[in-house]
Symmetry: C2
Amino acid sequence: MTTATMQYEAIDQNDVNYLLSIVGEEGLFVGENNIHDDYSGDELAGIERYPEVLVYPKNTQEISKILKYANENRIPVTSRGQGTGLVGGSVALYGGIMLSTEKMNNILELDEENLTVTVEPGVLLMDLTAFVESHDLFYPPDPGEKSASIGGNVSTNAGGMRAVKYGVTRDFVRGIEFVMPDGTVMNFGGKIVKNSSGYSLKDFVVGSEGTLGVISKLILKLLPLPKHKLSLLVPFKDLSSAIKTVPEIIKSKSIPTAIEFMQGKVILASEEFLGKKFPDNSSDAYLLLQFDGNSKEEIEMNYEKVADICLECGALDVLISDTDERHDSLWTARGAFLEAIKASTTQMDECDVVVPRNKVADFIIFTDQCQKECDIRISSFGHAGDGNLHVYLLRDEMDEETWNKKAAAVFERMYQKAFEMGGAVSGEHGIGFAKLPYLEEEFGEKGMELFRRIKLAFDPNEIMNPGKLGSNYRVSLY
Amino acid sequence: MTTATMQYEAIDQNDVNYLLSIVGEEGLFVGENNIHDDYSGDELAGIERYPEVLVYPKNTQEISKILKYANENRIPVTSRGQGTGLVGGSVALYGGIMLSTEKMNNILELDEENLTVTVEPGVLLMDLTAFVESHDLFYPPDPGEKSASIGGNVSTNAGGMRAVKYGVTRDFVRGIEFVMPDGTVMNFGGKIVKNSSGYSLKDFVVGSEGTLGVISKLILKLLPLPKHKLSLLVPFKDLSSAIKTVPEIIKSKSIPTAIEFMQGKVILASEEFLGKKFPDNSSDAYLLLQFDGNSKEEIEMNYEKVADICLECGALDVLISDTDERHDSLWTARGAFLEAIKASTTQMDECDVVVPRNKVADFIIFTDQCQKECDIRISSFGHAGDGNLHVYLLRDEMDEETWNKKAAAVFERMYQKAFEMGGAVSGEHGIGFAKLPYLEEEFGEKGMELFRRIKLAFDPNEIMNPGKLGSNYRVSLY
């Protein structure tokens, strides 16, 4: 690996004055004492690093001026949406400028003839969803964290629960207005449906975790809102039986909107956390399925076939939720799992691997072995229908040294297992800095070198989010 | 623009001997006298350039050895599927090695649990389609040219007619085995459904037109085969009325599988070319729509609504094709349009622009103006539902100088108009060398510089397909 030798300059009063002239006093915070501690970390990565300056640009031109200046003066820039990441992608590892898109939260245009919505990057996922649904339209990506910004979703190529039927964030990004590190504003894609005009720069940016430049505007693809939906909650005697049902469902050529798996113990934690009862908590394992469509007949045909398959595969029952209220309460509970597990322990860390969907059961059996052999509590839930697991290691009462050592050893085993199965490091949370060592295991030195060369093609002065994807710099944390 | 100063070395006997040791006598052809003239051009770009050597590798290892050698000796390599391109993407502008994937045409694995098929790049689209449909599965991308190779489809991000509902080739590529120019074999993506593990190298390769390395294996996403389909042929009094109906259909929240537009004169040409009657040829303009789904009720609900909208928007009639035979004969005729127009003139050139779908009618009105003002015959058809037009300029009896001048002037006007409308150079045929000047107009010098830097990140010795996307070299042709 190329090691860091270059250092970034510290921000001085001249820099502050210049930034002030762009964003004004209300858009600038300087120094640890004035910057809220939310901006020193994210939801999970367990590291605290403050930027030297926090700025809130209000439009593309301000972003452009900030980047141009930072690029000329080699000041690191870390962009941040709502900081709901789990792997440290938006933590300012090298100080410098943190560029928050929070004030750029306008929905700019709904185009019903092209089925697109144009938004600023700071719009929250939940606001976007509510807006388009009020126009009888549908933005299908459905990550658990609804208070994330759409810019952050695009930067991590967030997935969510409906990927089985609809795909992930990438599949719904039509166009990106992008500010290059030298301040040049470029447009990749647009309202167009097809595009074979050069390397797909739009797809370079999706999932690039803020390391190539800053997203200043997004054109997203919409679909008509399906008129009906229905959920099935299906208890099984154990998780392995539950998950083994999923390839049978897929093979039957029925494609539900979502297929989630959950352990009984996670449901109990979620009930405690939310103070609300789940429709059933008596079994060790569950599948939660969602179906949508434009006619009740279409959905019925689909779900009845799937219910039969579940029963043939050992399901103990099939509970149907066919009112909006029951449907929503089920999925709200599902959305709270991460927070519920977090509240059940002192500290945790996650593994967001994705494996081919017919390997999920084997992977879960493997994590059970790890739990026993390594004497560490592991909770998991995830997207059985698309092979993306969320496996959480829980610290509970371990001392720090034991925790660090044990977590590292278990992660190492789990990622190796995922790679053996044809899987990848991250299904939807991204790499940030926390997962870089595993990315290196997946891609090898040649792959990491390619990432670095691509990064330099966009960002020759390496100002964008150093210490992350494609960076020549690596902060040693543990 | 950076201009070419470096020259490539000519291939000598040592090079030939080395290639012979890899692919054997049956896999090697040397010199213009021994290379079939098919390999000197493509279907339309109107240029003849022979490679110095034509090789047929049989597997990934052979590709790897060929590239490693070419990279060390700075020999250009142009990979080629079936040569059905229209913009010169597979023409060996700088001689060197032509690497044909024709012998790598095996379907390797159908995985029904993960809904994927793994294929070699030389598999023909029509063979792939027939294979998966015989297993009741569906590969939705549907470019007109069914004898293209799937490797070529991926390299141009081919679109086709079903993009309205299902998307384009990119949306169905799950994984790519890729040979880098230095011979390293890498795997991008896989059977996994989600992926947020580093820059999406898979998406860098899709649409990169053979300029970054060679695709040696593909994992493609499949869907269950829809059980029913139905087509509507809808005559209108003129093309503008026909096309103006499309945004109304989209706004109604009904998404047909395909919405094509066609001029009466193109139908007449196609009848003559195929020697078969179209169901109707009495009108000046038509929409051809396709619907598919798993229940007849679902399709009926959909098409009846759309038929009503068409009639409200001035359709003269709505002709329903609800048997497989009638349906297939309609779409066969549609598939022959390109060849039919080609047969109707002495020479032609194409414009494959894509614009937002509510701008298609205006663009077609504009091409009518061009036709009159520039006194040149123009035929067009295309994908009204996704905004991708195929506009053909016909040489007829023009002398060469007039043709070249007139075509250049008309193209210039059309591409500018497309850019004004928020469109792009190519919806699905790619850039090759023929459309590079217009790509430069779309992206400007900064964009072209970015393309070159990305190209160099993959291919520092610039051996892959020089003179095309991202290349520092530009052949002057006219």
